[in-house]
Symmetry: C2
Subunit: 208 residues, 2 copies
């Protein structure tokens, strides 16, 4: 995170703070993936990150605080919405991005750990909520673009379309525990698009 | 579970076994709701059920065994699919049944606890899988009836239609942590039905 031109040994406080945060969040994610939220402890994260316990307690407060900051960081790192020039391509890009995240050994297990945490821990639930709202709002833009191009009816609710793309993938992953494959992603796109073209996602009353 | 006509004090072994099971499963559900899967212990369930520890260990083996049997029992207790005479009414009945279960203080928290358990515990994941497969297959019948009545295209995949009804509700409940309202259920029905009528759930190649 430092400027490449800066000489060694002249690290700003901001640079050090950023490196501490990166180490702590990486250790948090490691612990979540290996042990889950219920065994996430401040002391273990501090030890794994090579950072003083007091720093971790002072800055993050609790395991929920660590998870919240990790989800913020994952949202910051997520790629912006696609712009393939057509709604089908854009929704497919969204579905494949979700598919790849869920099937990624590290990221998929992280999401599942935080989803599990959210069922019983209010701050973890809020972190999940904030993460997905940011991702849904980012991708809802592709629907607005499609409406502007005349591909989808005016008044189509972009956030609802994006939720509909993801929902069947997450449902299989954490509820029915069925495989989440490329075919599942493709079907989600085709079905969501069929419903959107039929006006079933128009929520403002300006159906047309 | 005994016949009302049987005299007191002449309980059959089968009757006693059934009562022990009922007490243990109720205690399991109480503990899941109050403490979650990670704090579910055999000893606590035995104490709460008023049953000997050795019985609980011998019959259920582990906390995962208790959860598996609880999910079997909940599937047994679940109501059969609706038959309102029309696919829209049947799918609405399905959506409302899921909605009510998820918003039920006891049942909704139970499902969330088992979903959380399933993210890290393989037997709990298998119990979830078996439970939802039974429910999906039971309700898929309403789609077959609709196809037979000519309401939906031949080859429409009933299990996939039923998954599509539930998915947005569970997605909001456990992933985005958004309210699961009657409006959400109604929208799920309208969108799934629009896609099904457009043939987007035909998976056998006999689209038409």
């Amino acid at each position: 995170m430092d400027q490449p031109s800066r000489s060694a040994g002249t690290v700003r406080p901001g640079g050090r703070t950023a490196r501490v945060r990166a180490a702590v969040l990486e250790a948090t994610q490691d612990e979540l993936v290996e042990r889950g939220f219920h065994e996430l402890t401040m002391d273990q994260v501090a030890a794994r990150a090579g950072v003083g316990k007091t720093t971790v307690y002072r800055r993050w407060g609790s395991p929920s605080g660590l998870v919240t900051d990790l989800m913020n960081e994952l949202a910051d790192q997520s790629s912006p919405h696609a712009d393939t020039g057509g709604i089908e391509g854009d929704l497919r890009a969204n579905a494949v991005s979700v598919l790849n995240a869920l099937n990624d050994e590290r990221l998929g297990v992280t999401f599942q750990a935080v989803i599990a945490a959210g069922t019983g821990d209010e701050p973890a639930a809020r972190a999940l909520h904030a993460f997905y709202l940011r991702r849904i709002q980012e991708w809802a833009n592709v629907v607005d673009l499609a409406v502007a191009r005349g591909e989808l009816p005016a008044g189509t609710d972009g956030a609802e379309v994006i939720r509909a793309i993801s929902a069947p993938l997450y449902y299989r992953l954490v509820v029915t525990r069925e495989p989440v494959t490329r075919e599942v992603a493709e079907r989600s796109v085709a079905r969501t698009l069929a419903a959107a073209r039929a006006g079933a996602f128009v929520t403002t009353g300006s159906r047309g």
